[in-house]
Symmetry: C2
């Protein structure tokens, strides 16, 4: 029996041009969970992680708009809230997909807290854009609140926040034992809730963690045989939208590092996935598959997607 | 080893006159978790449930204030969000309190979904007040959105929502196995996320569940030896603020039913706790203790609080 960590992208829940209503999220989750239930039916042991970009953005807007009435939410609280909110949607749709296949299996959504270093360079030099766009006139007021606000590629001003590297997962043993007991586990949602450990005490950190980095760490810590990163494209591309554009069937760590050095993978999207994949493989991981949800089953059999190995 | 289900009231996290900032919530949780860590140190197996009244109210306000910008959240999504948000605070403070005692133990916050009957009388006749107060002038607009809005005791207009009885807990086996494996489990937060089961499929229900009722059901389903309901008072009172006022050391199910029939326990506060306690005891539960967090340890030894038995 293989243990597979499946990292779902934000597009598993909110499609292109959608607003992200609960109805839309359920419909998209239903499609994703159909494919994932097939992997359970095939006898795999599964841990599912997920992004929370659009949902966290919506919670930030809610928090902002009500800041005069109720205390605003720090980023760690927002990640925690989205673990609950998105976790419930994924869990219901997965249980339904399993039940349509006559599979009786526990589905456990576990709150996951991830240790980061308060001295991570990203803490003092935040560069992850989050939440809504603001007008230039609003910027001064936002900065008074201690926010760091930067221009985002000519589209307006946005808050930038720290995105430190994940170092350890507080609930790693609980996750391993839930898997061992035969449950499908949904964990590390939204990259995990960032916490710091100082003098033996844990406390929240107002930051976010990259969900692919968190997924790679979890895959390493639980000894997953495979890390499957689901995204919007079927295969990793090089020379994207340029002469010599090519989709990759396979990729070694050395090749991936060379492409990264060439700047082939954009920082906000494929870059962190490739870095996370390298990290998992270099720490002893078995295989990484990067593909779309629709090609997932074929990719695991080697007929689609990009397969990365050491 | 005894299994104890501890139901924390809203005041475990937000004190009288506080706004409910994350800092305040952590400080209050720290105090509660000191007492609870002592129960773990004494060798008990613990499941912790918690309310979410003020926090859910704040999420409702956030959802409302941003409704023109991002899709508003149904109540089941809000309960799910508060399971994450509050669960993280309780979990960190409990792990810290355990660590100060040199106890190494997993703390698992498990997303908990609870089955309700879509034909529950409360679904068509909602009467649980939630969220902020509105002016009379705003009521028409709120009703256009399908909300049911009623006057709340002369203090203004508020939304009323269904609060159906909990019937089954989707994650009951996962909770039991987490306990069996030696973890402290935080579950059924905010009364649990309401879902309906129809034709073998689960889906969300826009409602809330009373947290004491949900706690009693969970205590029954996992076969807890004791149900401890923590609230703002040290003992249950009869003739409260009237001639013959009396604090009760003990209470049988028959006495409790007689007091309920007399109208001794107000509907919004002690009433549901007594009803939940009766329900747990009549279904075979061992003992119920109703007391404050400060008196919890003494109450479990019979020196404080109100002890209910069959």
């Amino acid at each position: 029996m293989k243990t597979i960590l499946l990292a779902l992208g934000g597009n598993a829940l909110i499609g292109e041009g959608q607003r992200g209503t609960v109805g839309e999220e359920h419909e998209n989750a239903r499609n994703s969970m159909e494919a994932i239930a097939d992997l359970v039916a095939a006898g795999n042991r599964l841990v599912i992680t997920h992004g929370n970009g659009p949902q966290a953005g919506a919670y930030l807007i809610r928090s902002e708009r009500a800041a005069a009435f109720v205390p605003p939410l720090p980023l760690n609280s927002i990640v925690a809230a989205t673990q609950g909110d998105i976790g419930s949607i994924l869990s219901l749709e997965l249980m339904n997909a399993l039940s349509r296949r006559g599979i009786v299996k526990g589905v456990a959504v576990l709150l996951t807290q991830i240790v980061v270093d308060p001295a991570d360079p990203s803490m003092s030099n935040p560069c992850k854009f989050v939440g809504p766009f603001f007008q230039e006139a609003e910027v001064a007021k936002l900065r008074e609140r201690g926010w760091i606000v930067k221009e985002d590629a000519g589209r307006g001003y946005r808050r930038v926040v720290p995105s430190p590297l994940p170092l350890d997962i507080v609930e790693k043993k609980v996750i391993a034992s839930l898997l061992e007991a035969g449950n499908v586990v949904i964990a590390a949602g939204g990259g995990g809730i960032p916490v710091r450990r100082e003098g033996g005490e844990l406390s929240g950190v107002d930051a976010v963690i990259d969900k692919d980095r968190a997924s790679a760490l979890l895959a390493t810590l639980i000894g997953a045989d495979e890390l499957v990163i689901l995204t919007g494209v079927e295969r990793v591309m090089v020379n994207y939208r340029k002469p010599g554009e090519r989709a990759l069937d396979s990729l070694t760590v050395a090749e991936a590092k060379a492409y990264l050095a060439e700047g082939q993978f954009p920082g906000g999207s494929m870059g962190p996935k490739i870095e996370a994949a390298i990290d998992y493989l270099e720490k002893g991981g078995g295989r990484v598959v990067i593909t779309s949800i629709d090609s997932c089953a074929a990719a695991l059999e080697g007929h689609a997607g990009t397969t990365m190995t050491r």
